[in-house]
Symmetry: C2
Subunit: 332 residues, 2 copies
């Protein structure tokens, strides 16, 4: 039976840990996804206003294909500094890429990153010359483990999802043949995660075990195509963005991971409306730890993994909003 | 009130005509979308196995931004010849791009095109050295008008949508402020347009006036994340693909049209599951006839147009399948 993993978190993928850190005064935070060994990675950026780091490295045909961590952060462009802190944490452990390992030469940590915009959320952004994000990135890295908090935590700590509180969401799925796919999302979308005029999430068809409240759309639901429901009332350019990471233990090439990322974008489309707007910087990373060989027809398996990534991401997005608005704020 | 246009077809966009032609022996066809003047165009290609023509011209920073027609065809790579026939039709009318018009020098017709795979549908593909597609392209161009047939017609004539007959679909929407958005799709997807175990289309939340049967998902609907329902049983690489065109009278720049195309991809995601697989060559063009100025905040208007494009495309996809399987096969 296809079912969520033990924690229903991205950390159900063996070898994947997540660390988070927040600053309540700044009202922002960081989530770091850490594979225990360099993992194949790819990215797909679909929004009109992205903020990213080390994504050129993931476009194919490059020297390095394995990454040491993926960093998702609040703070808009300032939040890209969170990856500095993650790099510091990796350096202290001697982790990173080295073409020729040499005494006294630190390996280069590979930490692709993406940010969401939370500069206008009322937190204290008067941090002087040094932003808090490198510190938060290091703290998040050191916090990495299998358990982590959903809702108002990590990258989604200061987020807004349409007219509601945004947050960090996660979910996982384990197939009958033993492949695990997990997703983590910082949900700060311009669009709404709710079907207009209802309390049902757009992602409702994908929900498992009432993981985001079990609310179904009312009979006779219709929507005016120009009615966005609980989207942000006054969207501003670059003030939004959902950023996400998929992880799987299936052994993918980087090109296959990129195809999975493209398919995973459907998770945004099925959970958020409108999405990929000029206001959004939506992006999704895919990590493959490579522990489970996929011997069967590879394009067929990539299709499966891509669809599992899409549905797991849609669930993670809805969970992030649900936990931020109704959650116990406790450890999952 | 936001509502479909008079015909609920892409030709509700003023200045847009559609022509179609089919070959019943070959079991394939062509649809051509013809603006009455060169229209700003963009494209977004999301599938893993696309077949396209003149799409580099649409990537930005190029000399020519206006196109004379968009051609969607069956026939896999052979179907790209359909644009040859469209070019012939345009040439006969003296249409095309000319930097410096000169006597005896024909203008260059600009006809971006995309194909879907129908070579294995049982039709007679033994056409010798000359494929029927240039002929079909010319016939489709000459057929162009405001009325056209949905279902088993045009580019979708020989298509399969998952386990069901595929077809050509279309839909339109007119906003309160007088902007029209239309969509046309040749639906030949690997994935299913139906929610597994039901007769409800994935696109059901977007349906207007029972335009594809008014079927709602049953209460208590759930789906195994690894169950694709009525997807193709034995997908083969490059044997699928949904190709589509959005048209609007809103005056967009090419960059804005590209953002609308990216947003329109959500229409695929909300109507087809799985989608953007390695087996699919999914692509969507966007045409702007430029007749209606958008004076308001442009990014906001682009968001509206992108979401209208997404929902109208989702409806067009469901209508294509519905008409192919239940339609009257008559003129709409």
């Amino acid at each position: 039976m296809t079912a969520p993993g033990k924690r229903n978190l991205i950390t159900d993928v063996p070898g994947i840990r997540v660390g988070q850190a927040e600053d309540s005064a700044v009202r922002s935070g960081v989530s770091v996804i850490v594979p225990d060994r360099p993992a194949i990675a790819a990215v797909c950026v679909a929004g009109g206003g992205p903020g990213t780091r080390e994504t050129d490295l993931l476009t194919g045909g490059r020297l390095v294909q394995g990454v040491d961590a993926i960093c998702l952060s609040g703070g808009s462009a300032f939040g890209l500094a969170a990856a500095d802190g993650v790099a510091s944490g990796l350096k202290a452990e001697g982790r990173g890429f080295a073409l020729v390992p040499s005494e006294g030469v630190p390996p280069t940590p590979i930490v692709p990153a993406a940010i969401l915009y939370d500069l206008a959320n009322g937190g204290d952004k008067d941090w002087g010359e040094v932003s808090p994000y490198a510190r938060l990135g290091l703290a998040a890295y050191r916090d990495a483990g299998e358990a982590f908090v959903l809702g108002r935590a990590g990258a989604g700590y200061g987020a807004r999802a349409g007219a509601y509180a945004g947050g960090t969401g996660s979910a996982s799925i384990v197939t009958k043949d033993g492949i695990t796919v997990g997703a983590l999302a910082g949900v700060n979308c311009f669009g709404s995660t709710f079907m207009p005029g209802t309390e049902a999430y757009w992602a409702w068809p994908y929900e498992i075990d009432r993981e985001f409240g079990g609310i179904r759309p009312p009979e006779g639901f219709t929507v005016d195509p120009d009615d966005w429901g609980a989207a942000k009332a006054n969207p501003a350019l670059g003030q939004n963005t959902t950023i996400a990471c998929i992880a799987t233990d299936a052994a993918l090439t980087q090109e296959e991971a990129r195809r999975v990322a493209q398919m995973a974008l459907s998770g945004f489309s099925r959970a958020i409306r409108p999405v990929f707007a000029p206001f959004d910087g939506d992006a999704v990373f895919v990590l493959s730890t490579g522990r489970v060989d996929i011997a069967e027809s590879r394009p067929f398996m990539v299709s499966r993994l891509g669809e599992l990534a899409a549905s797991t991401l849609a669930r993670a997005i809805a969970r992030g909003v649900h936990e931020a608005n109704h959650g116990g704020y406790g450890e999952v």
